[in-house]
């Protein structure tokens, strides 16, 4: 009974026990903590099917996907198509079928398309998160592997809803690299700030690339390390204010963070020909204030670490 859902081998063809829809299995797409996702064909239409051993975990995901889909145009994640059981070796397994999103994982997409896409896609991501938050959920396990850039319209969609948590509960799943508690920047209660923290770390991680990212992570983790990276990166530096605010949980909503990123993005595009846009004094004051705050936090963490 491993937690890495040891999914039973699917037959090449199966039919749902209740809704009697039939599926042809084409290939495996990936494995999550709750189950395995397969590419299937259902009456000639391609779908993704997620199968897991622990039916409850799968059904909890369905629960979230359902409630997010009440708003039609939301496009937060894949559309849910079917929920049913299939029988493998005499044992019933719960599965759900969803729209197959053809595209690239966010980090791979950036590798191909270039880092100038990072702020554009993060802005989109924040719009998706905003919808999810308005439905009362936190995504939780936000990481590039769970974010998809669709091939056709270059839009960002969230996949793998296994970590999605009701606001106020403890986050169901997380990845240390992006986890707020692991960075000593707060607890693991599902709230807006938790996802925004992850989004900010993802933005840093994707902009600086894998090698620099890995080498910059020393223990103990604290957001001061992230600030160092931002200070040294020409592409991240202009976004320092919204990023720091996300690290310190200063945004009330994903929409707010999105608006601030957009403002910087626009200013940058307009001011591109010049080498470096002069900093407006007022904003500058706010920045240094925030940097002082993060330094204080750093000092606090070091003090903390001393006694470890």
């Amino acid at each position: 009974m491993s937690s890495k859902a040891a999914t039973p081998d699917l037959p090449k063809y199966f039919q749902g026990k209740w809704n009697r829809k039939s599926y042809h299995v084409l290939r495996e797409l990936g494995r999550g903590a709750n189950g395995t996702v397969y590419l299937v064909s259902q009456d000639g239409v391609r779908r993704a099917v997620k199968v897991g051993v622990e039916g409850m975990d799968i059904l909890m995901e369905v629960n979230v996907l359902k409630s997010v889909q009440q708003g039609r145009d939301s496009k937060v994640g894949p559309l849910l198509c079917d929920v049913d059981d299939l029988v493998v070796n005499g044992k019933a397994c719960t599965f759900y079928a969803m729209e197959y999103l053809e595209g690239e994982q966010l980090d791979r997409y950036i590798q191909q398309a270039g880092t100038e896409w990072v702020p554009v896609l993060i802005v989109q991501l924040l719009a998706r998160l905003d919808v999810l938050h308005k439905h009362g959920y936190t995504f939780g396990d936000l990481k590039p592997e769970n974010i998809m850039v669709s091939q056709t319209d270059k839009t960002v969609r969230l996949i793998d809803f296994g970590g999605v948590t009701k606001q106020g509960s403890a986050v169901r799943q997380f990845t240390e690299e992006y986890d707020r508690a692991f960075w000593h920047a707060g607890d693991r209660k599902a709230d807006t700030g938790y996802d925004l923290f992850c989004a900010a770390v993802i933005m840093v991680r994707l902009t600086v690339g894998k090698e620099l990212w890995k080498s910059s992570l020393s223990e103990p983790r604290h957001t001061g390390l992230l600030c160092d990276i931002i200070r040294k990166s020409d592409s991240l530096y202009p976004y320092r204010v919204p990023l720091l605010k996300a690290f310190h949980g200063k945004f009330a909503s994903a929409g707010e963070m999105r608006a601030e990123l957009l403002t910087v993005l626009r200013e940058r595009t307009v001011a591109q020909p010049r080498k470096k846009a002069p900093k407006p004094g007022k904003v500058g004051g706010g920045i240094s204030g925030l940097f002082v705050a993060s330094l204080l936090l750093l000092a606090g963490t070091l003090y903390y670490a001393w006694f470890m």
Binding site: S3, K4, V62, V83, D84, D85, A181
Partner: protein, 253 residues
């Protein structure tokens, strides 16, 4: 079914037990008393070996829990995930049992999927709100030495996870082998673990790994916690000739 207390033992080890009662039998004993046993195998460069892997699986199976084999870096997130999944499973079983009593033979699995989705929502809620007591048992025999800083990090991290829950949570940490007994209590029952706790200091140097005896001794830790009186009444009526809370046949609700 409003207030639930879930009880778990989480074993963190890197090899086979080699002393005392079989850990699989000890896990079965724990399960018998309403305590779920989860196991995490921590590996470095060296593999755990077929025998070690098998033992980890068998302990979890007998203890009604889950297991995983991970590298030290993944320890913290695995601890949290295993605990939560095992909780969900326990609640699922209890809800299922109650449903069977109401509906006759058919339990949750016989419900249509869209009805089951609603049950899943309820199970999720119960899991979040129920009280949770976890004893973490850390193998501190020789080969675990290099991994102990990761374990220490995971303990502190787990405390943050527990603290983020809505329900009441407590944890205790023990290490085995102990100095005199099989198990030394490093951190007694607490709601929040301070970062200052040192696992590495004052360890018993020994080549033996008494996983089974450590589990048996950990069961005794749960006997100290009192059941809420209403639940106690409910269960003591059912149990005949019973002299302690620890031997409840089922999960405590």
């Amino acid at each position: 079914m409003k207030e639930a207390t879930l009880r778990q033992i989480l074993v963190v080890t890197d090899g086979c037990s080699n002393s005392g009662i079989s850990p699989v039998a000890a896990a079965a004993l724990a399960r018998e008393q309403g305590i779920t046993v989860n196991v995490i195998g921590v590996i470095d460069k060296s593999e755990l070996g077929e025998k070690g892997e098998r033992e980890i699986r068998d302990i979890a199976e007998a203890g009604g829990g889950l297991c995983d084999i991970v590298y030290p870096q993944q320890l913290a997130q695995t601890v949290q995930m295993l605990t939560r999944k095992a909780m969900t499973r326990t609640i699922h079983q209890v809800v299922n049992k109650e449903l069977k009593e109401i509906l006759g033979d058919s339990g949750i699995d016989e419900l249509a999927p869209d009805k089951r989705v609603q049950v899943a929502g309820m199970v999720d809620d119960l899991g979040e709100k129920s009280s949770l007591n976890v004893v973490m048992l850390v193998d501190t025999s020789g080969s675990m030495k290099p991994k102990l800083s990761a374990v220490q990090q995971a303990i502190h991290d787990f405390s943050i996870s527990l603290h983020s829950r809505s329900g009441q949570s407590r944890m205790a940490v023990g290490s085995f082998p102990g100095k005199q007994k099989h198990l030394d209590i490093r951190i007694p029952w607490t709601e929040k673990v301070q970062q200052a706790h040192q696992l590495t200091s004052d360890l018993a140097m020994s080549g033996i790994t008494p996983t089974g005896p450590a589990i048996v001794e950990a069961i005794a830790l749960f006997e100290q916690d009192k059941l809420p009186s209403t639940l106690k009444d409910r269960y003591t009526d059912e149990e005949e000739n019973d002299d302690m809370n620890g031997s409840l046949r089922d999960h405590v609700f």
